[in-house]
Amino acid sequence: MAAVHLPAVLEPILPFVRKTQGRKPNACFETYAHLVTFAAALGFSVLEGSPPPTGAKRSSLIDPVAWEYFSGDRQQTTIQLIGLVAGGGTEIVNDPERLCRMIEDLAAEGGKELVKIHKNCGDASFHLELGELLVNAAKESQAEAATI
């Protein structure tokens, strides 16, 4: 059965998942699947849509997350879009195993960014920094769209 392994690079961010024991007060991610999806989207953005380096180191702290946990509407949109764009067709989308590996690798890339941000801002305003990051990304995208 397909499952997503949590990249080891995301370990410092785990306290911001609400399911984690010893979570932070401003934990914003409902589940590990939400964190992975967010990080994968960020990683995809950072790589400008290019395929990520494969073989990201997996975390031993968290068990692999079953593919079913990524069934939320928004998560599916994110994953399908990434799979579609990265594969240029339905080839990857139709292969859950490949999709899982790609999501893992992208999440590892995004994770690096998240760790950097966390290091810079600390625990208390991490969520605010992520908010800013999202707002800026939205603005940039909207500006690009307007240019096109």
């Binding site: 401003n26 934990a27 914003c28 991610f29 409902e30 939400h34 999806t37 967010f38 990080a39 994968a40 989207a41 960020l42 995809f44 953005s45 849509g49 939320g72 509407d73 928004r74 998560q75 599916q76 949109t77 994110t78 399908q80 879009l81 990434i82 579609l84 764009v85 240029g88 067709g89 339905t90 989308v93 139709n94 859950p96 995004g110 969520h127 605010l128 992520l130 908010g131 800013e132 999202l134 707002v135 990304a137 939205a138 603005k139 940039e140 995208s141 909207q142 690009e144 769209a145 096109i148």
Partner: protein, 710 residues
């Protein structure tokens, strides 16, 4: 034990109430009671035996009514109660004791032996300041006392030598010796020593018990004292706490009054209210700020990274369009539809199915519908379409707007909070500079005081509970002490017990030493008395030697034992024995007195001798009288006519009391009497003591009367 007074009422031959009073003298007292044979002189001896030890001469308990005078019995009607009694007052050791023994019966028929079972009672005279009365000796205290003063076994040997004291006396001597042997026996003395030791142990035990009780009492008293101290301490503490509470309440009232006074100033109240209002607003903004940050947090979590992907939406749309062109999309057809189309004979384009058409449909199924991807891509297609209502672009805009809005609100809150904090600081400054600060301090003090008052109240309640508990415990201790019933004069009691213990020790030692000394002393006394009474008065050159072992006399003549003794010799032996015993008892008494043991003044004893001179030669009688009068303090001689004539010359000068027993009998009996048995001379006057019965009939009875010349 000397006789002071004796009263016989209807006892044996003596009719009516007959009393003899004996005078109190410091020296020897001699009394004579004279009367014919069978007149009732012996009734005195029997009366004393009955009175002292309940001896019943010639009858048993059922027939004790026989002790009641026969004339009196004859005079008693059927069903009438009938009594006889002996009452005597004895003197011993400076005390007097009056006792009475009564025999009571009821006549049940007309015949002379129709009397019911007799009842014998013993009582003693109890005197108070106001009156005297006879009370029953129910606990036998008096009877026991008499047994000590006048032992039953030695009664006849010491006190009452019955008649006749002639040839039978040798037998009597043997009885006397046996009685004395018993009295002097080792076993009895050992028993006495054992009793003394038991007494000592008893006193030691008593002393120990008393000491134990004393210790317990000490403990209780100490506990009581401790409890009392604690109670006093608690009471003092409670009083102090009560006073503190009163002070606190007063202070509290003062604070409250001060608070009321200050709080009435309006400006200060307005400032406080304004500060409270601003503080409220500050809290609202703080909450709002937190909420806004929470919203950002939620928005980030729910974003699924959409804003990062928006830039790829166009590319995705192009891919999806291509897929649509390839008829891979829209995937709004179900796999069931595809399967039905393939199974049909003709394709949906109305042409017959070929292998190619069927392969095309299967390829479509593989590309578009595998793993339900088709449906999801269809959804994605709708999301990337900028014109779709739920497009990605719109979602991203919403997310960004939500975050921006929350962020703006959070920032606004920060500004507002900053402003508010400034205003609050200004107000606080103003309040602190105003009396309101004092009000605040007062309020804090008041609250503290309020808490202290409550705590103090609780402490007082606790103290009261403790006090109640302590008082209850103290009461219990006092009850325990009361139950112990220890005399407060414990020390005196202990000293007393120690004294008794010492006395018991002394008695035991004395007895141990006396056992051997007694026998030697008795032998010595006996030998001296026999020498005095016998050797110096016999005329046949015989001497009496007392055997060391048997304490029996042996009469020796010229170194040979004489076995046939004359009557006078025998009587002298008997009297010698009695004299020796009297002296020995005196010696014993003295020893015991030195120890503080006063069993009775045994040296003050009465000898009641019933016709002791019968058949004696004159010089023997003289020796007997001399010996008896020197050995005993009181001697009562019961003598008939011929003996009185023989002893009169010796006795008359020393006699203090002289009574006659007047016999009333039928004329036939009277006529048979010798003249000396009828008429008794005393100091120059004659008294007739025999006359024909006034009552008539065969009854013989007697009455006492003082001798003329007495």
């Amino acid at each position: 034990m000397l006789i002071r007074k004796i009263t016989l009422k209807h006892f044996l031959t003596l009719y009516g109430e007959q009393t003899i009073q004996f005078p109190e003298t410091s020296g020897h007292s001699t009394a004579v009671i004279l009367g014919p044979n069978n007149s009732g002189k012996s009734s005195f001896v029997k009366a004393l035996q009955f009175l002292l030890h309940a001896r019943l001469p010639g009858c048993n308990e059922d027939t004790a009514w026989l002790l009641i005078n026969n004339r009196h019995r004859e005079e008693t009607g059927v069903q009438a109660e009938i009594t006889a009694s002996v009452t005597a007052t004895f003197a011993f050791g400076g005390n007097e004791l009056t006792i009475r023994r009564t025999v009571r019966s009821r006549r049940t028929g007309a015949t002379e032996d129709s009397f019911g079972d007799a009842e014998i009672t013993f009582s003693y005279l109890q005197s108070t300041e106001t009156n005297s009365k006879f009370v029953a000796d129910s606990d036998h205290t008096i009877q026991r006392k008499i047994s000590v003063l006048c032992p039953d076994t030695l009664l006849e040997a010491f006190f009452f030598s019955g008649e006749p004291l002639d040839g039978k006396l040798l037998k009597g001597v043997q009885q006397v010796r046996e009685s004395l042997e018993e009295y002097l026996s080792i076993r009895q003395w050992r028993d006495a020593a054992e009793a003394a030791r038991e007494l000592r142990t008893h006193y030691a035990g008593e002393k120990q018990k008393l000491a134990q009780k004393h210790r317990e009492l000490d403990t209780i008293l100490r506990d009581e004292a401790n409890l009392q101290t604690r109670i006093d301490e608690k009471r003092r503490l409670k009083t102090q706490t009560d006073a503190t509470l009163i002070d606190m309440r007063e202070a509290l009232e003062e604070k409250q009054a001060a608070i009321l006074g200050i709080a009435n100033q309006n400006q200060m109240r307005a400032d406080v209210e304004e500060r409270d209002r601003l503080n409220l607003q500050l809290k609202t903004h703080e909450q709002s700020h937190e909420n806004a940050k929470g919203e950002i947090c939620e928005a980030v979590g729910r974003s699924a990274g959409y804003p990062f992907l928006l830039r790829f939406a166009g590319k995705a749309q192009k891919i999806l369009s291509r897929l649509q062109e390839e008829n891979v999309l829209p995937a709004d057809l179900s796999s069931g539809f595809v399967n039905r189309v393939v199974k049909m004979k003709k394709c949906i384009c109305k042409r017959d199915h070929t292998d190619e058409t069927r392969a095309a449909w299967h390829e479509y199924l593989e590309k578009a519908l595998r793993a339900d991807v088709g449906t999801k891509l269809a959804t994605l297609s709708a999301r990337v379409d900028p014109n779709a209502p739920n497009c990605l672009q719109r979602n991203v805009a919403e997310i960004a707007a939500q975050i921006i809005d929350a962020r703006d609100r959070a920032e606004a809150d920060i500004v507002a909070r900053h402003n508010l904090e400034g205003s609050i600081a200004v107000l606080t400054q103003r309040i602190q500079e105003s009396p309101i600060e004092e009000l605040r301090r007062l309020e804090i003090d008041r609250r503290k005081l309020d808490v202290s008052v409550k705590e103090t109240g609780k402490r007082i309640e606790t103290l009261e509970d403790e006090l109640k508990s302590l008082v209850a415990t103290l009461k219990k201790k006092k009850e325990e002490r009361a139950k112990m019933k220890i005399s407060p004069d414990v020390e005196r009691r202990v000293r007393e017990l120690e004294r008794y213990q010492t006395m018991a020790d002394g008695l035991a030692d004395f007895i141990d030493q006396a056992i051997e000394a007694l026998r030697r002393q008795f032998h010595k006394n006996l030998q001296e008395a026999m020498t005095e009474m016998y050797d110096e008065h016999v005329t046949d050159q015989t001497i009496a030697l007392i055997n060391h072992t048997t304490l029996l006399p042996t009469i020796m003549q010229n170194g040979r034992r004489v076995t046939n003794l004359g009557g006078g010799q025998s009587q002298l032996l008997g009297l010698g024995y009695i004299t020796a015993v009297a002296r020995l008892r005196n010696a014993l008494h003295e020893g015991m007195s030195q120890l503080g043991i006063r069993l009775g003044v045994v040296g003050e004893q009465a000898f009641v001798l019933d016709c002791p001179f019968s058949g004696m030669e004159q010089h023997y009688i003289e020796a007997a009288v001399k010996g008896l009068c020197s050995a005993a303090k009181q001697t009562v001689f019961l003598l008939h006519g011929s003996q009185w004539l023989a002893a009169r010359k010796l006795l008359e000068p020393v006699t203090k009391t002289a009574w006659g027993v007047h016999m009333h009998a039928p004329s036939a009996v009277i006529e048979k009497l010798k003249p000396e048995d009828r008429t008794y001379p005393f100091r120059g006057k004659d008294t007739v003591l025999a006359s024909v019965s006034r009552a008539g009939g065969e009854a013989i009875y007697s009455e006492l009367e003082p001798l003329k010349g007495a």
